[in-house]
């Protein structure tokens, strides 16, 4: 019996905290800060929703947790670290830069560079493929005639226009 009383005594602060947390929900400044932070966090139950918009029970619990941590005076960064240490980087919508996420962050740029490189090489190759064809004397004579004819036909309409 005595033990039970002692236990109840120690449980008192938890009940007190729960009561306070509900009061804090009425505090619009803290609520706004909580929602702002919760928008950066992923709900783990419904993975494409943020913690702010999710109605899953876990999301509600986590919002309560965030609210209480803010009330304890923890900074936003400290709260993020607190959640990451429990749920992993997956709770963050913005994945942090580290060894395992390098591909995620730089992969698209690497692919872009690769694409640009391939394009450049292809263009250069094509340029070298369109080499001046070697003409026989007869062919170049014909080409000269054709070119001369074309020049005539091009200059004539220009004259009439002018």
């Amino acid at each position: 019996m005595k033990r039970l009383l002692i236990l109840l005594f120690f449980l008192l602060p938890t009940f007190a905290l729960a009561g306070e947390a509900q009061d804090m929900a009425a505090d619009p400044v803290l609520e706004k800060r909580m929602v702002g932070l919760a928008e950066k966090l992923r709900c783990l139950v419904c993975q494409n929703e943020s913690l702010a918009s999710s109605h899953a029970e876990l999301a509600e619990d986590l919002r309560r947790e965030v609210r209480e941590l803010m009330q304890k005076g923890m900074s936003d960064q400290e709260i993020l670290d607190y959640l990451v240490s429990r749920y992993g980087d997956f709770v963050l919508y913005d994945p942090p830069m580290k060894k395992t996420t390098l591909v995620l962050w730089y992969g698209p740029f690497a692919l872009l560079l690769l694409g640009a490189g391939v394009l450049f090489l292809q263009l250069r190759k094509r340029k070298s493929e369109i080499a001046e064809p070697q003409l026989t004397e007869e062919q170049s004579a014909r080409a000269a005639v054709l070119l001369a004819e074309r020049q005539d036909s091009q200059t004539q309409p220009k004259d009439t226009q002018a």
Binding site: L7, A18, L44, L58, D61, S85, R86, G88, D89
Partner: protein
């Protein structure tokens, strides 16, 4: 010839990536708690609420912490597997009754059988948050030093019991 090989190789690489991606389960989020000490708690026991249980009581033993609830549908699926495991006396299973009403939890254990040495009640889900619980059932393998070695997200099945959990338990018990 190169004209055809290169696109083909690119296609195969892409297909392999997509195929592997198709078989990954996005629900299985790797837990950052693996290799870390199991978060401490003191919670009242389900059957005898005047008594407490803490992971610290389990120092020197390999044990399983199974997060369950009477409202959890997948827990019904894993329940017979846990019952079978409990009968074999290989490793003690402790339950964390997560966000549940004690009356309903007791009724469910009476009806379906109780595979747990004991269960503790986490009515508000606060300890669940410390353990990174996001989908009940979840099962943690905890070693003699109180370090979490493995986390099974979703039901324990005969397959993952045989392939992952039991070998892990045997290895940890031998240490």
């Amino acid at each position: 010839m190169m004209r055809f090989i290169l696109p083909f190789v690119v296609f195969v690489v892409l297909a392999v990536f997509l195929f592997v991606g198709l078989n990954l389960n996005p629900r299985e989020v790797p837990s950052p708690l693996i290799g870390k000490p199991a978060p401490a708690f003191v919670l009242p026991q389900l059957h005898e609420p005047q008594k407490n249980f803490s992971p610290a009581d389990m120092k020197g033993k390999v044990w399983l912490l199974n997060v369950w609830a009477s409202w959890c549908v997948s827990c019904r699926e894993e329940h017979p597997v846990l019952m079978g495991l409990a009968q074999q006396n290989i490793v003690p299973i402790y339950g964390l009754d997560y966000k549940d009403s004690s009356a309903e939890a007791e009724r469910w254990l009476q009806k379906g059988g109780d595979p747990y040495v004991l269960s503790v009640t986490d009515t508000e889900g606060r300890i669940g948050i410390d353990y990174g619980v996001y989908g009940v059932p979840e099962t943690y393998v905890i070693d003699k030093q109180g370090v979490i070695r493995y986390k099974q997200i979703g039901p324990v099945t005969p397959d993952n019991l045989r392939e992952k959990i039991l070998p892990m338990v045997a290895e940890l018990q031998a240490k």
